[in-house]
């Protein structure tokens, strides 16, 4: 699988550019529209997380790589911040009522729910979050 990669500084100003990059790749690789909209939410969550937490004292780079084969579409989001596995965070209570509902924790829930498969790895000083989607709707994970 070959990947198209966008590298930019990890700031919210670049969020739209990152989302447009993934959307363009998803269209080119024919990811089903409904899956694409879910993926774009998941990508935003992962990107924003890197912007907020990966480089607390410095500026840093985030890279977004998109690739596909005949059946799957893959997005990898990479930063070189301190080791951090987003997927280690607990699931939010999505049944709490309005006053008990916590503000945080939803981002990782969206990443899990809106992708078919998601994994974290630490490789050569980088955090890599890999999200995989089956290109057609209704394919079991």
């Amino acid at each position: 699988m070959t990947f198209d990669t966008l590298k930019c500084s990890a700031t919210l100003e670049n969020l739209n550019q990152a989302i447009e990059f993934v959307e363009e790749a998803a269209d080119r690789f024919q990811l089903a529209t409904k899956k694409k909209f879910g993926l774009l939410v998941a990508v935003e969550e992962a990107f924003v997380n890197v912007c907020h937490y990966a480089y607390p004292d410095t500026e840093g780079v985030v890279s977004i790589a998109c690739g596909a084969d005949s059946e799957t579409f893959v997005v990898e989001i990479t930063d070189s911040g301190a080791p951090f596995d987003l997927l280690s965070l607990p699931e939010p209570d999505t049944t709490a009522d309005i006053m008990d509902r916590q503000i945080g924790g939803l981002g990782v829930h969206f990443i899990r729910t809106l992708t078919d498969q998601v994994s974290y790895r630490r490789e050569e000083g980088n955090n890599i979050l890999e999200m995989i989607l089956h290109k057609t709707e209704g394919t079991p994970p």
């Binding site: 919210l12 100003e13 969020l15 739209n16 409904k34 909209f37 879910g38 774009l40 939410v41 935003e44 969550e45 924003v48 912007c51 999505t94 049944t95 709490a96 009522d97 309005i98 006053m99 509902r101 503000i103 945080g104 939803l106 981002g107 829930h109 969206f110 729910t113 809106l114």
Partner: protein
């Protein structure tokens, strides 16, 4: 994202269009907080033109709804459709907010 404000007899209607994401959600929160500070206590948020919402958008909705509840205010959502509806459903927000099919139904529900 654009926000249009309309005063109805029993509520303020905010019509939101575009994308409510990590960049734009703070604008929504700021506007609602200002209206609440100015004494408004009943709101209908019309999502007819909203194309996209992320967790940052949901967080802004939740924060303002909590503030409003402490002031005995009320909020209704209208026209939560498509991808936006899907995000509400998987986050559980579909059951913590009172959602109506139209602005007129939301206004009627506020009484």
């Amino acid at each position: 994202m654009t926000i249009q404000t309309t005063k109805e007899a029993n509520a303020t209607v905010l019509t939101i269009a575009g994308r409510m994401d990590a960049v734009t959600a703070p604008e929504y929160e700021k506007m609602l907080n200002e209206q609440i500070a100015a004494g408004e206590s009943a709101f209908v948020i019309d999502f007819q033109g909203l194309e996209y919402i992320s967790s940052a958008g949901l967080r802004a909705l939740l924060a303002t709804a909590k503030l409003l509840k402490t002031k005995n205010g009320q909020i209704r959502l209208a026209n939560v459709l498509g991808t936006v509806r899907e995000v509400f459903d998987i986050s559980g927000f579909g059951s913590i907010f009172q959602i109506q099919d139209s602005v007129s139904a939301a206004l009627a529900d506020l009484g």
